[in-house]
Symmetry: D2
Subunit: 294 residues, 4 copies
């Protein structure tokens, strides 16, 4: 579809998307990158500047856990939008310890626990994946990134509540340690677009290895589209129309199935916790390219 | 993408999808139809048998209201999954009369009220649209289809609650009358696939007229994908991967953007209120064809 | 207990309680009355000025229904504080149509339905009771008192929701008509104190007839203390320490078991919907007299 | 009031109350004691057998904190019934870390934190109080009483959530340690009735010292009546009509203001977590004696 636009070079599309957002955008506060199916990567702005990936790590952790045992994952985490702010305990109590989806904090804590049991080193497994797929071995955890006290206390509350329902195998302390470490991985838009391109390639990794089955790759994309941007997933689907996952440091990953992986970054967030400039740039990108999934 | 499968004829895909569900399926209890972009229609089983379209009417009402004034619609209804069973009043109270999305009962009641104000005859406008697009002037309201007492009372509660927050213009009685009448439209899988094909054609109706702008057509599809199957929209996106809308009489509409509109029908429902055989058939269809949006 | 204070004359106590609230209190905006066990009545301020009794009517309706068939009442209404604002539908949905207690609107609507079934004329039965016990046959419904639109719509929502769970026998319209009419009874502090004195007399009415058994009278008092002042029943018990029931027009009834019935009136309400001056005067009264139940 | 019954000796009342519950009651599984204003104590059954007091400790902790600084207490804890099961996190989240009342776990955790700040040794202060008032210096913490894993995890979740809203001063671990230790105090019905008799004496302790002001004693009683028996406080007020506080090991304390303190014990609990035989015995006691507060 939209073949006339398909001919447009990706670099030009990125430039126009960034410009559409704000011609005066300070390069230091905004980056946008796209990685194609064959491993090329293009970018504008601060697309090579690393930032803590925060909740975008949830996508990689989920993919790793699903690759090992999808059935085990979906027994312990749901697939529905939460309908509540991203850190709500109400739903968790109502559903007796089963988080609504793997992209709210509660769900990601359970996925981390699963991955710990599967690998013995959850955050190490995530790091290994993103280094390999991005071709950047320098990606590492930033020891200075820690949860603020209030968020730390709330996540501890969440983890203890999940544990009270028997939905954690490892200790709360160990699970939270791995959960926080994976959030502290520092990556650039370039790294993230490359590392997530397997989701645009129906599960096939950089060197042709199947990281996920075709079905599982589609399914991870489906969960990203319905649940990836907190309580604003419907709004994101409406405006951008792509599977996406945001992080509190301003990163925003999006997948164009069969074409490319995109990553925007800009630190200012809207009320729902998503990057304002990131959404605007992706909105412009899909409008210009016609590459929404709908 | 998936060009080898693309060559497969649509009729054959439908046969195999229906067979994949249950080789012994009684033709009387199952139908499946697909309408292509150029207005052809194929089907298997009871695909010409009319049934009350129930909540599938919400798609047509929404499209009509958005076509007239999208901004007005999205001021009075949200776009997020509800996270609660489809008829919950809790959310409505928390959000002070603004329904979470146009496909839960509360949201559809507000859309009906909007369409009443825009057209003077909400259910007449829906009927006119589906007759024209399906090419079947015999489509009409079934006077014997009425809300059960319990559902009627609950919808009355919902409408009065919305009204208490000032989010209805017309009287509760008039809005509910139009709401119920549009649910009582009797259409077949064939009629529904043809009538909804404009959503696969980026908003272009049967005779080439733009019913919706390209953006608005994509957006209606996005809302269908994130909110179209009650509290199981994530599950539907995960399994089927298409924008879809179900009805309590067993109908299930799905859109393959840029390719076709599908409609399955089979009366037995799962706990979330969606047709069991309908989901299975669409799951098989997207697996066989590779035509998921992800 | 507190025999030294018991010798104090009731009239003097009322004067000091009213004065304690505000020496400058405009007589027109405040009234306070006390009816003793032997049928005497004392008052200060505008204690003879009638006002619509609103939710105080719920006490009389409950007493009448319990007197006829207490078991039937407590099968259809609970006895616990609501923990939510007085008109919340959330609880009603969670508990499948059984209101938490008879003093929130939902519970009073069910009691009205019960009383309709028992007497054929619920608001007539309430009027007959208050006329007889107060010795004032002129008490009547004020036809100009009607629910505001927003409250009317919300109560309609509540009644339809209860009906959807099968917890109403009569039609929503008939039940609401009786519910509103009993709220529109116009009575003074004098009338209300006299009419409710049977609750201070262990159920014995003005002329010595048992309106309620001793047990049932205590139980109605217990429900008033735990649920009588909306979401602030704990606060009222803490400050005043008496069974009490408030109304949105500023009336506030309180029972001193074994001693007297009190009624204050002043139209300005706090955030919880209770009369500010009424609570202050009753607080002063119990402090001066030592007549809290604790 | 009820002077004819007042002449009845307390011991006889206890015997008849115990008998009213079940003539065949095994002495080992049931105890009942009453302590009078002048420090006498009577009992039946296993009234001298110690058991872990569990949540009854919340009454003593609250009294100690209120005695030191009531205003500080009521800034950080509410006074309303919870309307939710006793360990719900939903309300805590809705009210941003302020527990509804001091007798749900969340509220007691905050009171323990307050008392820690006031005394440096919260559970030591509680132990000192109950030893002194009961005249039994042997009362001590049972080291074998610990929270079950599930309850421990849930209380940890509650404490972390409160902490996330800034409503804890000490560390979660220290507060929980003191919270659990005070629950593990082992006392008999005799000990508890004597230790709580100051609440029947308007705040005056065993040796005539004012532990609480008259107002504060009444207020603690008011909170016990409206919130002391979890989600069944209304039911308890309705049946028994006294301020009361239950514990999960089967203890049930009740206050007859101006007369005596009662304590029943029997391990079998109803669905709301209150002792079945304890409620039955207190129900019989108030019916026989006429000593309800209403």
């Amino acid at each position: 579809m939209t073949t006339s636009i398909e001919a447009t070079r990706l670099g030009e599309l990125l430039d126009r998307s960034a410009a559409a957002w704000a011609s005066s955008a300070d390069d230091d506060g905004f980056g946008l990158a796209a990685a194609t199916l064959d491993g090329e990567v293009h970018g504008v702005g601060a697309w090579r500047r690393p930032f803590p990936i925060e909740s975008i790590s949830k996508v990689f952790a989920l993919a790793l856990a699903v690759a090992r045992d999808g059935a085990a994952v979906w027994q312990r985490v749901g697939r529905e939008a939460s309908g509540d702010p991203f850190n709500s305990l109400m739903q968790l109590e109502r559903d007796r310890g089963i988080p609504r989806n793997p992209f709210i904090n509660a769900g990601a804590i359970v996925v981390t626990d699963l991955l710990l049991g599967m690998t013995g080193d959850a955050c190490g497994a995530v790091r290994e994946l993103v280094c390999r797929e991005s071709g950047n071995d320098a990606i590492d955890f930033d020891p200075t990134v820690v949860a603020t006290d209030a968020h730390g206390a709330r996540n501890a509350a969440i983890a203890h509540l999940i544990s009270s329902y028997g939905n954690l195998d490892a200790s709360v302390d160990l699970v939270l340690e791995h959960y926080y470490r994976q959030c502290a991985l520092k990556m650039s838009c370039r790294d993230l677009a490359l590392a997530a391109a397997f989701l645009a390639r129906q599960g096939v990794g950089r060197r042709g290895v199947h990281l996920l089955s075709r079905s599982d790759a589609k399914r991870v994309n489906a969960v990203m589209l319905t649940c990836g941007t907190y309580d604003a997933a419907g709004e994101f689907a409406y405006r951008v129309g792509l599977p996406g996952k945001s992080g509190v440091s301003g990163g925003l990953l999006a997948i164009v199935p069969g074409r490319c992986a995109l990553c925007a970054w800009s630190p200012q967030l809207n009320a729902a916790g998503n990057s304002i400039a990131g959404i605007a740039a992706l909105d412009a990108f899909t409008t210009l390219s016609g590459w929404s999934v709908f």
